[in-house]
């Protein structure tokens, strides 16, 4: 009874207060989304669109490199997300500890986040040059033959993933530092009195209590990894050949070739893929949290 009355009580704001926000949201999000669903079903050359049903999707899935792009996307997303979570947590623990020049080190770790991705891509492309790059030159002084970081098809995707880690770990660290700061020092004090080792403290206290931050980092970095494009494009353009192509770069290539309908269909697929992976994952991660 009371509940129903509460719910039916009028909001103090009239409905048309929402209209400006709804209009902006509609124009910038709803209209493009709906129209891209439509265009993905057409052969579209910008001046005219001919309805061809699901042909674009059929074509996209029969694309010899879509499967490769799909697998690469998953490998890339899992690698970068996993590494960012682990390295981010370790760095955060290190940087919240009582160490020398803590503020400076925090700045140093966070700095790459602020630099333009394309700039980082170009810089690392130069540094990873097989004969003239500084990385292989340094390896050479240690008498280690440096690989073709970006020109070896087996390595290219992982080289880009490592650069992505370098660029993105600062943000993960920041989120973890915030999470760690929220843990009450009382727990550690009690654990120390009980004689717990540093490792036991980390495993039994830090890790479980930093869980909300972990979920945030995993979700954010996984979404970022799945739709990653700029760094891959700047460093390898999906190459050599197709070996580091991800879905986003396949889509971009279709667009460049003038297959607008096909590339829109690719975007719809990417949208669906991210939704399929991220929605259940967040539900699952959050449920575990509630259970605990």
């Amino acid at each position: 009874m009371t509940e129903t009355r509460l719910r039916s009580r009028k909001s103090p704001y009239p409905l048309w207060f929402f209209l400006p926000a709804a209009a902006v949201y509609g124009v910038l999000f709803v209209v493009p989304t709906v129209s891209s669903l439509w265009f993905s079903l057409t052969r579209w050359d910008l001046s005219s669109a001919e309805f061809i049903g699901l042909e674009n999707f059929r074509q996209f899935f029969s694309e010899p490199f879509l499967v490769k792009g799909l697998v690469n996307t998953l490998i890339y997303a899992l690698t970068t997300s996993g590494l960012k979570t682990i390295c981010g947590l370790l760095l955060a623990v290190l940087l919240t500890g009582n160490i020398f020049a803590r503020g400076f080190l925090r700045t140093l770790v966070f700095f790459p986040v602020l630099v333009s991705t394309i700039g980082i891509g170009i810089t690392f492309t130069v540094m990873m040059h097989p004969t003239k790059g500084i990385i292989n030159a340094m390896l050479e002084t240690l008498a280690i033959p440096g690989p073709g970081w970006l020109t070896n098809p087996a390595l290219a995707l992982f080289s880009v993933a490592l650069v992505d880690l370098w660029k993105g770990v600062g943000l993960a660290t920041l989120i973890f530092i915030a999470g760690l700061a929220a843990i009450s020092p009382d727990y550690y004090e009690a654990a120390r009195i009980d004689g717990a080792t540093r490792f036991q403290q980390f495993w039994r206290i830090t890790l479980p209590l930093v869980r909300p931050a972990t979920i945030t980092v995993i979700t954010l970095s996984l979404i970022g990894g799945l739709r990653s494009f700029d760094l891959i494009w700047a460093m390898t353009r999906g190459g050599p050949g197709f070996s580091s192509d991800v879905i986003a770069s396949v889509i971009y290539k279709q667009y460049q070739a003038g297959f607008y309908g096909l590339s829109t269909a690719g975007n719809v697929i990417l949208f669906a893929l991210i939704a399929i992976i991220i929605l259940p994952l967040t539900v699952w991660l959050n449920r575990r949290e509630v259970e605990q």
């Binding site: 353009r237 050949g241 070739a257």
Partner: protein, 426 residues
Amino acid sequence: MANRIKVILAGASALVALVAAGPSEAETTLSFLIDNSPDTVAAAEALVAAYEKIAPDVTIEIEQRPGGGEGDNIVKTRLATSEMSDVFLYNSGSLMQALKPGQTLADLSDLSSQAKVDESFKAVVRADGKLYGVPFGTAMAGGILYNRKIYQDLGLPVPKRWAEFMANNEKVKAAGKVAVAQTYRDTWTSQLFVLADYYNLHQSAPNFATDYTANKAKYATTPAAMKGFERLKEVHDAGLVNEDFGAASYDDGLRMVATGEAAHYPMLTFAVGALKQNYPENLEGVGFFAQPGDDPAKNGLTVWMPPALYVPLASQNADEARKFVDFAGSVEGCEIMVETNTAQGPSLVDGCALPADVPPAVKDMLPYFEAKATTPALEFVSPIKGPALEQITVEVGSGIRQPAEAAALYDDDVRKQAKQLGLPNW
């Protein structure tokens, strides 16, 4: 109330008069869209300056756009939304056909300058029997740039057979130099061994282009068409390429062949413009020959047509735009462009002579034209060119994929393009 209406009406009619009077009298401003390569900008500026002298009431504003796929998108988007400039520069051949010229471009068949334009160029700007463009610049060719000093020092002959070419390569390698420069950082440069082989393909299979467009011939099932892929692999497998081929750029390739680090660089002769800009002191040291085939008696050159100037149907200043384009296509316009830039090949306007001091790489092309041993590249005789060719040739040239498999993969890529164009039989 009635007064107010009168005022509004008077105002409106004054406005209409103003709008109507504006463009018809005196000053006309034309917009002119070009790509942003320094060669193009220089030629366009010279052309505009010359035209503004003979037509003082016309002002032409040059707009620049990027080249490559990004530029294609800009041109297509602006045409589709009727936002195109009064005159624009764009590729001829299959890319022009993709603009749907019948619906978007003005018919330029009756321009007086068309009388002197070479038929080979008209063929690549024609649709439904109408001409839509005039040439901007000279023809160019795909083949092999070579370092003349290395050839002199090692006493090498200019090869007419593939086997001779490979023998030359071995000698260059033995002399401790890079035999063939490959530059896969800029993936488009990897296609040349395949694309420039089209003359040889055309000699063995004269109907290939027609059959290929009609979905009757395939790269994978035509042995002569496979040759390009096989040659690319052969060069890689023999260890003739530069060590950093996967990371080297187009400019690295030009530097290598110009300074004598490498003996050969398969490339289009438009590179002569870049060579002149970046390595002017080495320009004399770079020569050029057509890609050798199996039969020395049938050695010839695959030719690329220059881009063209077009007028969109939606132009508000169509008459003035046509006059400017007519000037650009005339002998006078052609001479201005040839003088501004180094010619990249023979001119396509009758009576527009090349300057006497063209660089050797361009001089080397002329005998093929005199002997009529030339054919337009496949992309000018067929509307289909698969977009993934450059990635596929990178794979073959890096030893990642075998030629047969690569050719089959390319056939798949071509199928997609043909379907998107809505060609029959696909």
